[in-house]
């Protein structure tokens, strides 16, 4: 049980009232499994991801990551938790322009205060896993959109997270590359045994996921386990 969301309610201020973005949402994502969160625009998918990433504190409900409840943790403790336990694959690759592909990964180890030598080895391993071993020395502007997205994925795995959160990874890619990226995420989820949540509005690639959660107006439905 790596990621557990229990009775999450999240509201945003909306004029005089409040807009309910997440309404009593509960979701359990076991280790080594992939849950896809789908739903129409504005349904609350990104909000769900942000809550799981500890970037937003919900009004009520608890987030448990690797057995640790996040309720009541300070900002610094949450930052540390994100560093150690949570990998985020951003919708835009969000790579740092001055760093090479390998350094994008090494910076994660550096944030964690790990040794540069072992970090370099691990970064090359992960770049190899996403098929970019030969691009390690290139900067973002020298990489294609699909390659950047793969660096983004490899970076999220650099600190061996227990939870992997993926935000619309295929939105900027064509069908073929989208399928490849999704296949990669599925493979890495099993390889690295992460509890993966994948937000997408695109149902076409969702054949290999373990669980599909549908969000509608802030409510979550788990229609079918298609494992």
């Amino acid at each position: 049980m790596s990621l557990n969301l229990t009775d999450i309610t999240l509201t945003y201020p909306d004029g005089d009232t409040r807009l309910t973005a997440l309404d009593q949402v509960s979701l359990e994502v076991p280790q080594g499994s992939l849950t896809a969160v789908v739903g129409p625009s504005g349904s609350g998918k990104s909000s769900l991801l942000a809550v799981a990433a500890t970037l937003i504190t919900p009004d009520t409900g608890t987030v448990t990551i690797d057995g640790q409840r996040t309720t009541g943790l300070t900002r610094g403790e949450l930052t540390e938790l994100r560093r150690h336990k949570i990998g985020i694959v951003f919708q835009q690759p969000n790579l740092l322009p001055s760093l090479t592909a390998a350094e994008q990964l090494q910076v994660m180890a550096q944030l964690d205060g790990r040794k540069p030598g072992t970090a370099r080895t691990r970064a090359m391993e992960l770049l190899d896993a996403v098929g970019l071993a030969d691009q390690a020395g290139r900067r973002p502007h020298q990489l294609s959109g699909g390659q950047r997205q793969r660096v983004n994925i490899a970076r999220a795995l650099m600190n061996d997270p227990t939870v992997l959160l993926v935000d619309e990874p295929t939105s900027a890619l064509d069908h073929e590359r989208g399928a490849a990226v999704l296949g990669l995420i599925t493979r890495l989820t099993h390889q690295q045994a992460t509890a993966t949540v994948l937000v997408t509005h695109d149902r076409t690639h969702l054949t290999a996921v373990d669980q599909i959660a549908e969000v509608q107006d802030g409510r979550l439905r788990l229609p079918a386990m298609n494992r």
């Binding site: 990104s46 991801l49 949570i86 985020i88 951003f90 919708q91 760093l99 944030l111």
Partner: protein
């Protein structure tokens, strides 16, 4: 500094531009400091190097300010000060600006009149009614050396020795005997007859300056405070210091502006780093480290150039004073003020929300 170093290298152009601005400002401040000190020395070195801690002027009447050019002290006033308790020595000093000529060369000089054997002048035991001691610049300007003769305010005098490089109000000093000086100085209408311009005092803590001033009709200030009584010094030094102050302020503002733009530009990256688990404290530290690297680099180069230029021109006619204080203090001030300006701009890293790294818009 993992990302900060790489940013420095990656955004070379921008940082080089900013570095160049820092180099130029430091160079300008360094040159200005050397020049201010050099000009200052040409103005006051004869006074600051006097073996005296206080200077007694004629008490100015009404609202007038103390002035070396207006003061005249009498023999009586001098006697009062010599006898006053706590005064180790009171020596009359005559100061007047006049013209010296030797052959076809002539120059403006400050004639300093001292008592025979006075401690105020170098080699004073060689000064006689017809022989005087010249400062190096005076001797150079006139092209004379010890033993030669020249004319001071129409009187034929001999060079007893060339010693020191005292300047007063941008003119080199010629040390004369007080009675020689009295003949070159413009006459005054004081009943007791003029003795000198001021009285140079060496006092102990027992001296009651206010009481003696009152009795003698003088006004006594410390040697350093007396510098503002040199007319050209106050105006010159004041405007140069003002320029220097503005340059310091400008450098802080320019550096602050640069890092404000830079920090805003990379706020997307900062949001990503925060989302990935970078602590705000570390991000701040790295950004400040980056600013300090730029500042120290730029300042070192600017100071280096200023010192080289200073070394090149000192010894020529340009009054440039090259000392650790004139080049290093401006450098340190620029680094400190620049770091302050940068710190204020970098502060906004604190308010970057990692949430903005999610979603499609950055």
């Amino acid at each position: 500094m993992f990302v900060a170093w790489r940013d420095l290298k990656f955004a070379k152009g921008r940082f080089a531009l900013m570095g160049a601005v820092i180099v130029l400002i430091t160079l300008l401040v360094g040159l200005l400091s050397g020049l201010t000190a050099g000009l200052g020395r040409q103005n006051v070195s004869a006074i600051t190097s006097l073996p005296a801690d206080k200077i007694a002027f004629q008490a100015p009447s009404g609202r007038q300010e103390l002035s070396y050019s207006n003061s005249t002290v009498t023999e009586q006033q001098w006697r009062k000060w010599s006898e006053a308790p706590g005064v180790e020595s009171a020596e009359p000093l005559g100061i007047t600006t006049t013209k010296a000529t030797a052959g076809d060369k002539s120059t403006g000089v400050s004639a300093f009149g001292v008592e025979p054997g006075s401690r105020l002048a170098p080699d004073s035991d060689r000064i006689t009614g017809s022989a005087v001691v010249l400062s190096t610049t005076a001797a150079d300007d006139l092209g004379v050396k010890a033993g030669d003769s020249f004319t001071l305010a129409g009187r034929q005098l001999k060079v007893a020795a060339v010693r020191g490089d005292a300047h007063f109000s941008h003119t080199p000093v010629i040390w004369t005997r007080l009675d020689t000086w009295q003949k070159t100085a413009p006459p005054t209408s004081t009943d007791d007859g003029p003795t000198a311009t001021v009285i140079a005092l060496s006092t102990t803590s027992q001296a009651d300056v206010a009481a003696t001033d009152h009795q003698a009709g003088t006004k006594t200030v410390s040697t350093d405070d007396s510098l503002s009584a040199i007319g050209s010094y106050t105006s010159e030094n004041g405007s140069l210091q003002l320029m220097r102050g503005f340059l310091f302020a400008i450098s802080a503002l320019v550096i602050g502006a640069f890092f404000t733009v830079w920090t805003i530009q990379r706020s997307g990256d900062v949001a990503v780093l925060k989302a990935l688990g970078a602590s705000t404290a570390n991000l701040l530290k790295d950004a400040l480290g980056q600013a300090v690297v730029l500042l120290v680099g730029g300042t070192l180069i600017g100071t280096g150039i200023a010192a080289s230029v200073g070394a090149l021109v000192s010894g020529s006619a340009v009054p440039f004073l090259l000392t650790p204080a004139t080049v290093l203090i401006p450098a340190v001030v620029i680094i400190l003020l620049g770091a302050l300006g940068a710190a204020l701009s970098i502060r906004r890293i604190t308010s970057v929300d990692p949430l903005t790294a999610l979603g499609s818009v950055r």
